[in-house]
């Protein structure tokens, strides 16, 4: 029998190893799997390469993972924001690496990694510093840059609804990077607000087919990151 639902956050993430490449869903706080991230802080795996659009806010979630010195390198499109203090400080001190990628290129590289496409050409970043050192090529009179698919050892993803096959539904703009990160990891670990019976999700509306998911853990009432930031909470608490 196929049952991808595991009993605890700890069980879900306990094989994440030092040096792993980890994708973390979310655009800002929307879709960020904060409970999985906090459990990864407890777990302590270090020297991680993290692929995520941002670098977190305040001192919780992804920012706390970085602050806890578990992240060697960030691959992202927008590493600063109103409430991001941790990454800028470590970056200025040379304590963390940054690979800056245009947001659409980041999304397409993740999708390519999941779809078995090793490399593709894109017009984004041509003639800019972000294309320096990269191969360019002209198609139909326009210049494009060669970009490579990314794969991860683990993806940590937040969704709304899951079943035991790992079929997923998301909530509004919290969908963002979730579906493509599910595709691109050897082990995709999902925290779901609700877990429903097989067949309860209409096969026409499944967003992430279960084939892309290895583990599901039930987190019925995930924390609201912006509230924690407003309260200046720090993880571990």
């Amino acid at each position: 029998m196929i049952n991808k639902v595991v009993r605890s956050l700890k069980e879900a993430i306990s094989d994440i190893f030092d040096g792993a490449i980890v994708m973390i869903s979310g655009f800002g706080e929307a879709g960020s799997p904060i409970e999985l991230i906090h459990k990864l802080i407890d777990h302590g795996a270090k020297d991680l390469t993290v692929v995520s659009n941002n670098t977190g806010s305040g001192h919780v979630g992804l920012a706390a993972l970085i602050e806890n010195r578990q992240v060697k390198k960030m691959i992202c499109s927008f590493p600063r924001s109103a409430n991001s203090k941790v990454f800028p400080e470590l970056y200025h001190n040379g304590e963390i690496e940054l690979e800056l990628v245009p947001q659409g290129t980041l999304a397409e590289r993740i999708r390519a990694g999941g779809a078995g496409i090793p490399a593709f050409y894109t017009p984004a970043s041509v003639n800019t510093p972000l294309a320096e050192g990269k191969e360019t090529r002209v198609f139909n009179g326009h210049k494009y840059v060669l970009e490579h698919g990314i794969r991860a050892d683990f993806s940590l993803v937040k969704c709304k609804t899951a079943d035991r096959y790992g079929n997923l539904l998301y909530n509004k703009t919290a969908r963002n990077f979730g579906p493509i990160m599910c595709m691109a990891a050897n082990t995709t670990i999902v925290q779901a607000r609700e877990i429903v019976e097989l067949g309860a999700i209409d096969p026409e509306v499944v967003v992430t087919p279960g084939i892309f998911v290895q583990r599901v853990v039930h987190v019925s009432n995930p924390a609201d990151e912006s509230k924690l930031v407003a309260e200046d909470r720090r993880y571990p608490w």
Binding site: A30, H92, V101, V126, T128, K172
Partner: protein, 218 residues
């Protein structure tokens, strides 16, 4: 001088209204963070414009009523928004397929610098201490059919933003189609920068004095 300029030109709300007037009925539009967001407030009566936000929503509506904010319904600037009837949600790869594939008709962006051939710099000042952050800007200017810039005509210190050659790192080369500032509306053409409209009280010579790049009268 800065004060002067602000007095004689348009307010940015008026500039946003000018932009909105130039976006046809039925357009798909992506608005950058900040001043570009003002454009959404001025869609002329009878026109229907659909807003795309790159974090996965087509049919973005105005900010929600107080108390109805949903942290999982936000725009690219991470502000609370709503979804109109006929909206749809999608993932990031699909969202940037819309952008890169040429499906978005208009993008309205801010600018740090614009060169006379339409180069745009709007993501980094290139200072060594700055944290570089690009977001979706490079994808947008590479993929969207019409790129409109909306900006103050000069920097906070009164320096020209419309210059011969950008000194900041580029977002894209030869990409800007039209520039809307508090002083004028300027088209980027094969013949150079052509002034389309001057704000009330602004003369061509005054505009040129605030612009490093060579301007042409219409």
């Amino acid at each position: 001088m800065v004060t002067d300029e602000k007095k004689i030109g348009w307010e940015m709300n008026e500039v946003a209204q000018k932009v909105a007037l130039d976006i046809p009925d039925g357009s798909y539009v992506n608005l950058g963070i900040g001043i570009p967001e003002l454009v959404a407030g001025y869609v002329p009566e009878g026109r229907e414009v659909i807003y795309h936000t790159e974090n996965g929503l087509l049919g973005m509506g105005p900010a929600p009523q107080a108390g109805e904010e949903d942290p999982e319904l936000i725009n690219a600037g991470k502000k609370y928004v709503t979804a109109i009837p006929g909206a749809c949600f999608f993932h990031h790869a699909d969202s940037f397929s819309m952008i890169r594939g040429g499906h978005i008709d208009y993008c309205v962006l801010g600018a740090l610098q614009i060169s006379e051939n339409g180069d745009l710099a709007n993501w980094s000042t290139g200072e060594p201490k700055a944290i570089p952050a690009v977001g979706g800007a490079m994808d947008l200017i590479a993929g969207v059919k019409n790129i409109f810039v909306i900006s103050q005509h000069t920097t906070k210190t009164g320096d020209p933003k419309i210059i011969k050659q950008c000194s900041y790192p580029l977002t894209g080369k030869e990409v800007v189609n039209r520039i809307y500032t508090n002083l004028a509306i300027i088209d980027v053409t094969n013949d150079g920068l052509v002034v389309r409209e001057l704000a009330p009280g602004v003369t061509f010579d005054y505009l040129q004095s605030k612009t490093e790049a060579r301007l042409k009268e219409k």
